[in-house]
Subunit: 639 residues, 2 copies
């Protein structure tokens, strides 16, 4: 089926959005703490020395793992890339001469590192110089380049400085000569997807279609038979059967991307791949990709996603296992994977607003992803269980520090996920105190949201245009927002007739001073999982607006699993927790099982007695920001 | 407090019991299949070559793990020992000239292997000859000796051949010279307990107190400061901080055994230690050991034991974690650990019958341990989860094949756990179709049980004596057997007045033809765990008699977690499953959650609808003996 809607929605540039309120505070934490911390810790790990041609090569600092023949040190360029990207966004919000100088110095080092032909990689120039492009399957070479490309685009947009962008254009131009089907070219692609979506960013900021074409090449080649990874291994004298991850499903290269119907393998790889596919689907109006992506979307969100938007339950492959296998206490649910889900969801909006994607984007953003960052911006979760007995806490750093800069760059750039523009329409995908500037066919427009969202569902949007301008505004009405109401200049808009794919599409002549008032009821919503999720049967989670809630030991004492939520929900009250940036907590009347009376045995023939109790629910993304202790998302429910 | 009861109950020898019925069938499987299979697989692994001085040493067949500096090949003597022990018991039940010849040949090899001074160990004579007694902490040297001692005692009792017993006496005599506090002696003990309980068996069969004394030495030394393991490491040029298991809790050597109050570390090590302690407590009337053991017993059974009698939830240390941490799907619950719990429980009965121990012995025997053996005796579970999604199946063999011969020798010797004798009393700890011969002060006695237990709770015991004999018979009344009744020659015995510590103590003149009739009601019993067990809240398990039940996919289809057992138990019926040796299954009226109606989402605000359903429960120990599939012990319960 060919899609009728040929509109292409692209995210606005980060500097086109100003944020305050909820996200403003988070961005301040990144500006004030995280951005510098990332560089400090990269430097401490030896990453600066690794690219500085004026210093000796650090050599192999992180030992090579014999089984995969790689070292996480091979990813250092990506860590620097994501850190520079974070700094770029932070500089736009909060100029910081010292931080900018540190980033400039790194960029200067990269300039010196880059070879004549455009190639640039710290590991393969300074540690294993003979091995360039010899193991795309395992060694993350294009992945590293991709993150530096994203950094280059962000740094250019934020500071106007294009040195890194020029470097990465030269590198990308070099790649165009290296990869392809001509004699002497490599008909391959990276074992860790990333460069695909990065090249689209490069194309959009430079206007160079050749970068789109290279991205499309990598996507089209992936998984073709005879298999590139197999041929590459044989060429390198390696036995393809020795592949440490056993199956090419690990990197979603087991079949061509258009044939893929099941979300498998390493979760971050999957998300980055689907993001790149969605970008290419948007740019090329490629329905074959969109069809595959829609199937994969349902596969993920209907069979494999935590209620937090966390994905990839297993540590063993950092990824997917069986359908409906969603263990809570051992959930891997890597921060990067939910960040990647936000990336993918936002790109699924490229072919038009649809809350099927935007609702999940918001769910993953506020819960699975944001949880990765401490309130003060200084520590980080790598894996995100939905139950903890009290031993799970945020890290200062990680042996594989992919998550800290990933959640930091997402928070620092969240404005570009809130708004997207097509030729003559602006979509408001996410709500939050903010303003956005956009150039539409109908004219320049500025929208300003006034809201205490996500704590409160009242949203006022002020429209600012020169004179009058005719264009569309698409406002997401989340599926969960039962009873939502919308007014323009005080007049009620009939949602039943104006909502398409979950968005109120308001197209009319707008004038300065027009006011849109949207009310999204934030009732406490019990969440029941399908009985196919064995880990969640007999349990209930709670959501309020886009936020998933949890219970913490610090509010509720020991034995969180002893609380029983009655099936007919009891009374509940909201309260504000100042120590958590004014977060809204919920007190809920429940009962609690009494563990006394077992008399010297663990088991007995009668169930526990129940006594009335009150439980305090707090937003999941804020857990482990106060007294350390146990945490639980899925509470026992009465029948 | 000094205990008043100075009686010492010791298990009867295996050949003194004849079994039929339930255990008879299991023993036939061991005689007909397992016993030879064990030898076949030991041989295939290279274990025969390892001890045969007429063949070259096999060298290092299983690589040495760098972190613990050991190889599971170091345990090969123990595998052979447990296999010979199994064969010994099997030969008593079913003479088998071929099997006996194979065992004799192995014993001959050991005879040739044994050194002049009595030392005998395949690894440290043939692979690492320079390293004898240099790393007791890690290298299982005494552990291997212990298993050969147990084999020696069993082989002697079953066949009357004492060659292996003589070998092991010489080895034990050598140990007496090696270990001690005199100049040149080693003041140490083994990192893996086992030799302690083996030496007690040696002492009991030879009448040599010196073996008890050596056992007591090992027990008394354990955990003393300055720490032997630390001194040993330093002497060997190893850094004690590099200990792969981090803490001496792993081998229960973190403090002296009498100070220990918490069950910690490697589960099998713990069970073997407590077994040895209990034996020494019995033999020396040592209340200080008994006091420690009673504390440890409660610690284990009230805070750390699965409803199956499985213990040691974690694979990482093959052992214990936190109190009340009993994950079902990832339960390690090693077969050997439940076998060890049976060992310990039976030895806690040494100071007098008490169902506090015997009930758990039965629970661990029928559930945690027996599950390790397939109905045909040919395959083995190593770990015993209480929930499986269908991927857990018995192994043909294991890289560390400790469990197959361990469950096999327990099954083949189960008669000695059923009966124990003191000077003038015989205790019936377990029920089952069988007969036992014993010599008491009051005369020779033979008891014959006629029963279809555990499928049926009617037990008739025929007493056979020469003329009249006055002695005691102690009959366990399990705590779960509410409404039990007892008659002697048709006359009702008042249990309220005759039961001490859960045993009916019948002391009177007995004559041939006396009949004891015991009725243990086998009602289906729901089992609720304390709400402190987070993994079992909102769930119920089922027991019938000593058996824990489970549901299997083959009887009940997919999504076993969707069944909901009403709190007020619905109707239920028993039926016999011929394919499972006539096991009694239970059909129970329940409801089932409907997984339809989620409409393209995993989560919704309403719980699942429930529809009436019937669930078939089968004994847990028989799961995975039919069509492979999912299994579940703890079902959802209504509130």
């Amino acid at each position: 089926m060919t899609r009728q809607n040929k509109s292409q929605f692209r995210p606005v540039a980060v500097p086109d959005v100003e944020l305050d309120g909820f996200w403003g505070k988070w961005q301040d934490a990144v500006c004030d703490s995280t951005a510098a911390i990332l560089l400090d810790r990269c430097e401490k790990a030896g990453m600066i020395q690794a690219i500085d041609v004026n210093q000796p090569s650090p050599g192999i600092v992180i030992p090579i793992d014999e089984k995969w023949t790689g070292s996480t040190q091979m990813f250092w360029d990506s860590d620097l890339g994501k850190s520079i990207e974070t700094i770029a966004y932070s500089l736009y919000r909060k100029p910081n001469a010292e931080l900018e100088a540190r980033a400039d110095a790194i960029i200067d080092m990269y300039e010196k590192l880059q070879q004549e032909d455009g190639y640039m990689n710290a590991w393969f120039q300074r540690v294993q110089p003979g091995k360039r492009w010899t193991n795309l399957r395992d060694h993350h070479e294009l992945y590293c380049a991709g993150h530096l490309m994203e950094a280059a685009v962000a740094y250019y947009q934020a500071t106007g400085k294009r040195k890194l962008l020029d470097i990465m254009c030269r590198y990308a131009d070099h790649m165009i000569t290296v990869f392809g089907h001509s004699e002497g070219q490599i008909p391959g692609y990276c074992g860790h997807q990333e460069v695909e979506l990065a090249l689209v960013k490069m194309a959009r900021v430079t206007g160079e279609k050749k970068y789109l074409d290279l991205s499309k090449f990598f996507i089209d080649e992936r998984g073709k038979e005879p298999h590139f990874f197999t041929a590459e291994a044989l060429r390198g004298g390696r036995d393809p059967k020795d592949y440490v991850h056993k199956t090419y499903e690990y990197s979603q290269a087991h079949e061509t991307v258009r044939e893929q119907q099941k979300v498998v393998g390493h979760a971050v790889r999957a998300m980055y791949q689907y993001s790149g596919m969605a970008d290419i689907a948007t740019e090329y109006h490629d329905d074959t990709l969109t069809n595959a992506l829609e199937t994969l979307w349902d596969d993920l969100t209907v069979k494999q996603m935590y209620v937090t938007g966390g994905i990839g339950p297993a540590a063993s492959n950092e990824g997917f296992t069986d359908y409906y296998d969603l263990p809570n206490d051992t959930a891997y649910a890597e921060t990067c994977a939910s960040v990647g889900l936000v990336f993918w969801a936002s790109r699924m909006l490229g072919r038009g607003p649809n809350r099927r994607y935007a609702d999940v984007m918001e769910q993953a953003l506020y819960n699975g992803a944001l949880t990765g960052l401490a309130l003060d911006g200084k520590t980080f979760f790598y894996d995100n269980p939905l139950e903890s007995t009290g031993k799970h806490h945020r890290w200062v750093w990680h042996r594989c520090p992919c998550c800290p800069p990933n959640i930091a760059r997402l928070v620092a750039s969240v404005g570009s996920y809130m708004y997207a523009v097509a030729d003559n329409e602006i979509a408001v995908h996410l709500y939050g105190e903010s303003s956005v500037k956009a150039q539409l066919e109908g004219g320049k427009v500025k929208l300003t949201q006034h809201t205490d969202y996500p704590w409160n569902g009242d949203i006022r949007i002020d429209v600012d245009v020169d004179g009058t301008a005719e264009f569309g505004i698409a406002l997401r009405i989340p599926e969960w927002a039962e009873g939502a109401s919308l007014k323009v200049n005080g007049e009620t808009v009939d949602l039943a007739s104006s909502v398409v794919d979950g968005y109120a599409r308001l197209s009319r002549p707008w004038k300065k001073g027009d006011v849109i008032a949207l009310d999204l009821p934030l009732d406490l919503r019990p969440q029941y999982a399908s009985p196919k999720v064995r880990q969640d049967v007999g349990r209930v989670a709670f959501a309020r607006g886009p936020l998933i809630y949890c219970v913490e030991e610090t509010d509720n004492g020991h034995d969180l699993n002893a609380f029983v939520v009655p099936q007919k929900l009891g009374g509940h009250r909201t309260k504000t927790i100042e120590g958590l940036n004014g977060a809204v907590a919920v007190e809920l009347d429940v009962s609690r099982e009494d563990s006394s009376g077992w008399n010297g045995s663990l088991y007995r023939t009668r169930p526990a007695e129940q006594v009335p109790a009150t439980v305090t629910l707090v937003p999941y993304h804020l857990w482990d920001n106060r007294e350390p202790g146990a945490m639980l998302v899925w509470l026992q429910t009465g029948k």
